[in-house]
Symmetry: C2
Subunit: 165 residues, 2 copies
């Protein structure tokens, strides 16, 4: 069974190369980018400007294949792939929560964007904490490591030629 | 340009009908469901059990078509579709953040699940607040309405026969 999506637009960012990229929005706090939607979707952006944060869902278009155990940027121990945010996944879908700066026609300016320039955008959703997170949060193997994501950069390990079928 | 994904498994929940379903995880706080992954992905679930919350990305498989302006459950005013969480979207991708109860082989038991039984699961990611949300949050048109989501149920308005091309 397969499911087919089409990009609603592209994400423009200063990052043209995987190496040296921030690995999460928290490490790209001041990086500004633009979501350039297909003009047919412009009306769908109405009311978006009331929200401070957007959930972006996009295609890790430079990622291919996956491994079930991966050594994430923030650890030296291989971890189960679903317990990481590594881009090489069975379905290479990325998620970033970014801050909204401005909506203008079919373009949305955002801050804290950690994706490659030209990334195909699949969806935009408003971030609504009351919907999304209930109760106390624990972060497993990340517990002592999450702050490191502020400064760590990508090293290209997930570019992935060794595709796993 | 099209992007093709395949489900990594299915979500089993008590909800076999759209009508009467909670509309967000916050309204399904005590609802338990199971992510049944294809057995080939079992190893990828290692280390997941340290996390309290999971981001589920799935296919709104019963949703078809979309409209750029929608009247959401929580409002009487049509809103831009990207400023809502309505399932009828250009790419019908759903996102829920749920609580993890247990990982056993290729099955993950979760709580606070608000999706239809049989929903095709596309990805599981750990919820890591330090990555995901920076700064103060505003929720636009939802400001005075988000608490209502705790009790509101779906009425099937998004089942969607009137497909928009």
């Amino acid at each position: 069974m397969s499911i087919t999506f089409s990009p609603i637009g592209l994400v423009r960012t200063p990052f043209t190369d995987l190496s040296g990229m921030p690995i999460q929005p928290s490490g790209a706090r001041d990086v500004v980018g633009t979501l350039v939607l297909d003009p047919q979707y412009e009306q769908g952006l109405k009311d978006l400007d009331g929200f401070s944060h957007l959930i972006l869902i996009y295609h890790f278009h430079r990622s291919s294949g996956f491994q079930l155990m991966v050594e994430p940027f923030l650890d030296t121990v291989p971890r189960g792939m679903f317990a990481t945010r590594a881009p090489r996944r069975p379905n290479p879908i990325g998620l970033s929560i970014v801050r909204l700066l401005k909506v203008s026609h079919n373009e949305v300016t955002v801050k804290g964007i950690d994706v490659l320039d030209g990334t195909p955008l699949l969806d935009i959703k408003p971030w609504i904490p009351a919907f999304d997170v209930q109760g106390e949060v624990r972060v497993g193997w990340m517990e002592k490591k999450q702050e490191q994501a502020l400064s760590m950069k990508s090293d290209g390990r997930f570019v992935g030629d060794d595709e796993v079928e």
